[in-house]
Symmetry: C2
Subunit: 402 residues, 2 copies
Amino acid sequence: MSRLLVISSDCHAGLPAARYREYVDPEHRETFDMALPVQLEMLQKASEKFLVADINEKWREGRESDLSGAWDHDARIRVLDGDGIAGEIIFPDGITEMNTPPFGAGLSLPTDDIVPELQWAGARSHNRWLAELCQMAPERRAGVAVVPALWDVAEAVREVQWARENGLRGALLPCMWGKLSPYHHPKYDPLWAACQDLGIVVHFHSGAAPTDDYFGGSMFDDNGAELPGAVGIYISEVAWWNVRPLTFLIWGGVFERFPKLKVAITEGTCIWVPQYLELLDQRYEITPYSAKLGDYTSHLSMKPSEYFARNVRVGASCMPRREAELRHEIGLGSIMWGSDYPHPEGSWPQTREQMVGTFQGLPTAELAAMVGGNAADFYGFDTAALQPLVDEIGPDASVFAA
Amino acid sequence: MSRLLVISSDCHAGLPAARYREYVDPEHRETFDMALPVQLEMLQKASEKFLVADINEKWREGRESDLSGAWDHDARIRVLDGDGIAGEIIFPDGITEMNTPPFGAGLSLPTDDIVPELQWAGARSHNRWLAELCQMAPERRAGVAVVPALWDVAEAVREVQWARENGLRGALLPCMWGKLSPYHHPKYDPLWAACQDLGIVVHFHSGAAPTDDYFGGSMFDDNGAELPGAVGIYISEVAWWNVRPLTFLIWGGVFERFPKLKVAITEGTCIWVPQYLELLDQRYEITPYSAKLGDYTSHLSMKPSEYFARNVRVGASCMPRREAELRHEIGLGSIMWGSDYPHPEGSWPQTREQMVGTFQGLPTAELAAMVGGNAADFYGFDTAALQPLVDEIGPDASVFAA
């Protein structure tokens, strides 16, 4: 038996909405009580908009206990053990378990119709709870703090310091900045410095997109029906909105100034990587076609693809086999498999079967890197401490034999 | 000698701004006179913002006569003959020759700070002049009418009919829709029907992007200097904004309802094609990961990549060799080389040398398709009528020998 270390680069956890109350700063609890019914109604509406309710209800049927692992320690341990997953990166949760943090502090971190002070309060309430959850199994759980950094960089630095002091290992930043400053602005440098120096991994997680373009008021036909194609457009484009901040970080010279900064781009597929990098490298080379633009590269000592290889990893949730086949084009060392538990689009409860489908027949060293080794290195998991657990629950390398 | 038919899928022409006056509807000439100084000042500012003035002045030096081919028939014939280009697709012009159509009717077709009635008037003035230019060499020139379709679909249909009646062969639509309806909205169906039935090729040309994100007011540092990276971000992202409408057309079922509609995506590179199609096809397959979204594909009888191969071509301006090497992944039949005359980033006046650099050593039939054959088929050029000219000016196939 040679069991593999599996780390899911993309898991989610969050309290049922009402239970965040005790984690919210006392001065915001009255507002929390007023906002809660609205939040629940919006979650319900979002669920109806993006999800087909009966399909998901059917999927959840009989799985309620295992799905409570979205917030419950014991259930979570049971489910991840069953999946063979020893370690996990934990993002806030979403629509399906109705357990997003309050005040718009969930995955998408919107900037429209948001009260910044409250979004911060919501983020802190989630981070406090998440720190507790992670401290129950610190060697297994790398928690990602919610950091709505666009409003206030100094506050973001403080939150990242708090996260580090309380055992969290990452920061989730918004993928979209609305009318606020994009990430090539030097105002964010103190945040990059703090994340680099504290070893906090910066995360961009798929989800946000200009949904008004697909589902907005004008996007319904005369009978009020959703326009054909809206869902397909959303699930195609959202991968681009997820990676968009990286373009700003690379060209903005952030990895030049902060060479040890770590960034993960999660649940946006990894099919985009090779040609994204080809395009950026093509643009980086000064050619007869680009000379008219003057000097736009001398602040970068490396090619975009070189920063990517050094500083960036991709959280490859629910990898299709095609992406595993393209691993050398994508970059073997850049890929971190993820299960996306407890989301219905995730691999649970067929994780083992789906992993075999994705990786079967690949060289063991290569698939071991993708299912766990790369994440262990990037996030600094204590693999020695995890070994006894791996020996007990990890999938055996032989199951991936051709 | 075996000379090749060369057609540039991306050339530009436009009158010096002041000379559009006689082509503007009489009722708008007073407004034209008031707007002209403002337009010239904005062109100047755009030139300073996006271009390094001294590099471009140096590039233009001594080439004034050849650059007047941007509007002058004789000069244009001389330049294209010199380049070995027998046929061309003609878009409006841009900043460098200060010859954009009035009232915001240029390449980007913005929707902010625009008076729709005037943008239409500007578009019509350009289309009238362009029709005259094309009629001076109708077998060589496929003119693309400017059609700001977002404001008024019925008006767009009328303009497309006018374009057809006056010998133009394409319609340029905006890549960005601002707060107006994206292209999966069925309200555009009459426009797609008209373009399909009249054989008018729909075009999206690179240029528009959310430039406020890169160059906007908040994007300057405390000393008022442009932020590092802005240019690199722009030239990387603009390729995505160029292709974005296609995602809406494909998922919206436009090619399902209008199977003979032709769309060209121009000057946004073609490096994005393989993995753009891989992503869309991946999303199109219903998998365990996407089942929760319900039915979002049954209105499409073909895969996204199949619509692309049938209905779409890519205007590959100034192709780097790498894109020629990837021709089979991109789709040999989808690539149409372009020179981008008279723009400084274009291949002129080194067109022949650059073409050889890009295509040297490739099978003649394949490079012949990319440099002209594909465009001839797509736009319906009369190749028999062009043959005597090709025999005179076309590059000999032997120059591409390895």
